[in-house]
Symmetry: C2
Subunit: 228 residues, 2 copies
Amino acid sequence: MRFCPYAQRAILVALAKGIPHDVVNVNLKRKPEFLLERNPMGKVPTIERADGGILYESLIVSDYLDESYPNRPLNSSDPFQKALDRVWVELFSSVTTQFYKVLFSAADATAQENHMKEFVSAVARFDKELTRRETKFFGGDNYPGMLDYMIWPWFERAPVLKVLFPNLYDYESAKQEHPRLESWRQAMKEDPAVKEFYLSVDIHLKFMQSHMEGSPNYDILEESGAKL
Amino acid sequence: MRFCPYAQRAILVALAKGIPHDVVNVNLKRKPEFLLERNPMGKVPTIERADGGILYESLIVSDYLDESYPNRPLNSSDPFQKALDRVWVELFSSVTTQFYKVLFSAADATAQENHMKEFVSAVARFDKELTRRETKFFGGDNYPGMLDYMIWPWFERAPVLKVLFPNLYDYESAKQEHPRLESWRQAMKEDPAVKEFYLSVDIHLKFMQSHMEGSPNYDILEESGAKL
């Protein structure tokens, strides 16, 4: 599913490591048989190896790709640092949870405002952690690591919040308050893997609006004539 | 928390690999400051290294221990098999979810019956998978691996269901229908790590009853004079 941030995680890892692959996009509202045969839960990402081996769950797939293709390792070679980065990926679930709650709580203005506050404060922890690390990326100064790629998909989408909810999300203040995270965001946008799969705020916005209206339009890219 | 199956995962790994450690049990209803200072979520297991490094989340901690102590590896050395086993740990969440739903849905008999059916069918998938593997343990014929230890804590507790809900859970039939899984259960009970941390059905039952009544008694072992 071209707009799924979890599927994007696996694709970013494959692109960053130069792993040859084909992408088969699916309609998650009408899950195709070929997906359900491979993954009874019908979730993305699901990967299939040339020998027919199947794996799913974004973190499992990403770790597997990193381990089985030793070039440009994304996880730290230090088991403690690797585990610590994975704890941060877990902590990031507070960002993703609040992100979707903001999108889907429009019926209750107070709840929505609270979710937005919690979203902003969850993001702030990542600014603080990056400041503590004193590196360009969470994975170091040279290039993004596993943690960077696992959290990026939601940062690519976050600017839609300022368009959808201009009164709730002060993006300009957020940038000023979190300069380190803003520099990170700019550096990530220049990363070749991120660039190759990047979609504009406008496209993400259109997809999310269709999703919020209850009928996600999986063909927005095709319809807009953009590169799939 | 002596009765937490997630904490037990980390302890089983430490015991299986002979990793020296002290255990500090906590009251999860009145979380001590020393826990919250180390893990803002106040969850168990939380581990602290001699140098003060902190990690939490049972799977992250278990993988970290396995990676940083290379003796008796619990994860497969084949990245694909390791990932596949982790997919099975994810699938096991359907067992744990239904287990707790059964315990906490006593107010609605029909719902409870359905949860029990789903619990039994989720467990059946593991019997089928073990039969497919044709090994004594999920981790092979010699000794339990990571997948075995990650799912064991709920199998240690499952017999409480037949005591609590004799009309809903036919444990004798379950054993006959899933002979492979029953042999696995017996073999696991003989594993030294499992044995060392094992609690009787009676103790688990007492704790769970106090939990279901809304005030989990974390001191049951102490009160019963048993080994902590």
